[in-house]
């Protein structure tokens, strides 16, 4: 398959980065996150500041009240979500996942971004946007999509999920409009051996280094939702 980019990656990046720097004053936020599985167990560090439930988990666990009781303080909803309003009203942080596919046509991509803009218009309480790749992850394409999301996001956070993108691409997303990193950020990381060989777990110090090396001031999301500069 030949995928010739029909976008200027540097123009997109310049605009996105300029906007993110203005909005967030050159800061990028680390959010240590655990995720609720559909079976009710958690994946990620137990002391994570963000306990995230997606719509599959909410539905499997019997609704918003149940996942909240289980400890969730944030939800990741879909663009067709029916729970976003309730979640915001219940005081949960509400993030929206925006799917994209590598190599998709420009029209299709414009459609996704328009859908995002429409969603944000209906749900102003949504706090962050999480681009999620469908299928193969490709670097350049991912960076371009982050930049497009930044343009639509206004003051919302654009979030790079380290579980999906890994550290390398996740870090580069910061230069293309992302202002927050979501992942298994831990105090001490277990060795990447056996089942953990491909783990994307990262220590707080490593995450700080990644943010600084990308040219941003690292901050940390606190359990009460506040932001602290590191």
């Amino acid at each position: 398959m030949s995928i010739q980019p029909d976008f200027d990656i540097f123009s997109l990046g310049r605009a996105a980065q300029a906007k993110a720097r203005t909005l967030f004053d050159g800061r990028a936020c680390l959010t240590s996150t655990r995720r609720l599985n559909v079976d009710g167990t958690w994946f990620g560090p137990p002391r994570a500041t963000c306990s995230l439930a997606d719509e599959d988990a909410i539905s499997a666990r019997g609704g918003l009240a149940s996942v909240r009781e289980a400890g969730a303080n944030a939800i990741l909803c879909n663009l067709e979500s029916t729970v976003a309003l309730q979640a915001v009203a219940a005081g949960l942080r509400c993030l929206v996942r925006v799917p994209f596919a590598a190599g998709e046509a420009a029209d299709e991509r414009r459609g996704r971004v328009a859908e995002l803009a429409d969603f944000l218009g209906h749900f102003p309480g949504v706090d962050g946007i999480v681009p999620v790749p469908l299928g193969e992850v490709q670097g350049l394409d991912t960076l371009a999509f982050f930049a497009l999301c930044r343009q639509e996001a206004e003051k919302k956070h654009v979030i790079a999920d380290f579980e999906r993108f890994g550290h390398k691409l996740g870090q580069l997303c910061l230069s293309f409009g992302a202002d927050e990193i979501l992942g298994s950020i831990v105090g001490q990381r277990a060795l990447r051996l056996g089942e953990r060989a491909s783990s994307n777990e990262i220590t707080r110090d490593e995450a700080v280094l990644l943010v600084r090396a990308a040219g941003f001031v690292p901050c940390e999301r606190l359990p009460d939702g506040g932001i602290s500069e590191l």
Binding site: M1, S2, I3, Q4, P5, I9, F10, G13, R14, Q17, A102, G103, V137, Q138, G139, L140, L143, G166, H167, K168, L169, Q171, L172, L174, S175, F176, E206, L209, L210, A213, A214, G215
Partner: protein
């Protein structure tokens, strides 16, 4: 001095100073830096990305140098995991790869500094490989190995190179440069040849008509200023000889070596280094993203930050995988072409000397 002044110099084709190189390195906006490097890269190569079909053979991992950055070597010939490849084993490996379908056009040979091998072993190795595949290009022995041969066998650098050339040597790989600074070399590879000696080997090779590559292994103990000085030393030699084919930035890998407590350079730092190298090394035509060392994702992105070459199919890489590289151990030409295309570039198969090759009729066109 500002970024826009440096950009003006780049666009005017003027060589950058050390201070300007450092300014680029410290420029906070990676996107701006990448865009400038990409401008120069596209001026030189348009959308093309080169790759070749190559086989890696390591004659031995026995090495007296014991560099702190190395995960490959064994000190003693009888140490666990130590090996010396017999000449017939090396030839068998080449013959197997010739029969496998994606016949290589190049054999890349690098190994340890083994005090117990006669010079005749290396001459016979090249002769036998060349006899097995007369059309193949032998890119063999880093400057560190050539200098070691010079010391061990008490022959001049020129004589060593002439004898190897007579046996089929076509070009030198660029390894062992690390950082061309005596302070850094003393800290990370004190038993390797010095910076001047590394340069002298390449100067001599170029004089004899042997083209070579050059590298920079970054991310250990060096400063940004030392990286830029390294680039300027390479640029000076290129201005003198014109013998460098490609420059290859190599990020340090910290696993299984004595520098394990240092973090590897981040992706942003890697892309920054590619961009600065493209802009400073204005007289070196090609910047290579060695996918084995970078990983495929970063290598693809480097193609937009100054790189125009993805190296080769690399059958059986060992050195970087022992240091923790998680990339595949080899790729087919079709896979390489796909990776290049998905990065939005046009794949061009080349030989060792960067001559474009026609697609092979029996295989998928690249």
């Amino acid at each position: 001095m500002s970024f826009s002044e440096v950009a003006r110099k780049v666009r005017a084709g003027e060589a950058l100073s050390a201070a300007e190189g450092v300014l680029l390195y410290r420029h906070p906006n990676l996107v701006e830096l990448g865009a400038l490097a990409n401008e120069m890269r596209e001026r030189l190569h348009q959308d093309r990305v080169y790759f070749n079909r190559n086989l890696h053979i390591n004659p031995t991992n026995v090495c007296v140098a014991q560099c702190k950055l190395c995960s490959f070597s064994r000190r003693a010939p009888d140490a666990e995991g130590a090996f010396v490849l017999r000449v017939d084993e090396a030839v068998a490996r080449l013959q197997a790869s010739l029969l496998a379908g994606d016949a290589p056009t190049e054999v890349h040979l690098v190994g340890g500094l083994h005090e117990g091998l006669p010079f005749s072993y290396f001459v016979e190795l090249l002769s036998a490989l060349k006899a097995a595949a007369p059309g193949i290009c032998l890119k063999a022995f880093s400057a560190v190995e050539i200098f070691f041969f010079h010391r061990l066998y008490k022959l001049s650098i020129e004589e060593i190179l002439r004898r190897l050339q007579g046996a089929g040597l076509a070009s030198l790989p660029g390894g062992g440069a690390e950082i061309l600074s005596s302070r850094v070399r003393k800290a990370i590879c004190p038993n390797k040849c010095g910076a001047e000696e590394w340069i002298e080997v390449h100067r001599t090779a170029h004089r004899l008509g042997v083209k070579s590559n050059c590298t920079m292994m970054f991310g250990t103990v060096e400063t940004v200023e030392e990286r830029v000085q390294h680039l300027l030393r390479l640029r000076d030699l290129q201005a003198e000889t014109g013998g460098f084919l490609a420059f290859i930035p190599l990020p340090f890998h910290p696993e299984n070596n004595a520098l394990f407590d240092r973090p590897a350079p981040t992706a942003a730092e890697v892309l920054r280094t590619f961009a600065v190298a493209r802009l400073v090394l204005s007289n070196v035509a090609n910047i290579k993203a060695y996918w084995v060392s970078l990983g495929l994702d970063t290598a693809q992105m480097a193609l937009w930050f100054g790189a125009d070459d993805l190296d080769g199919t690399v059958s059986e890489e060992k050195i970087y995988h022992l240091a923790g590289a998680r990339s595949p151990q080899s790729l087919t030409p079709a896979e390489m072409a796909r990776i290049i295309r998905t990065a939005g570039r046009v794949p061009v198969e080349r030989d060792t000397l960067y001559r474009a090759l026609a697609p092979r009729p029996q295989q998928e066109a690249v």
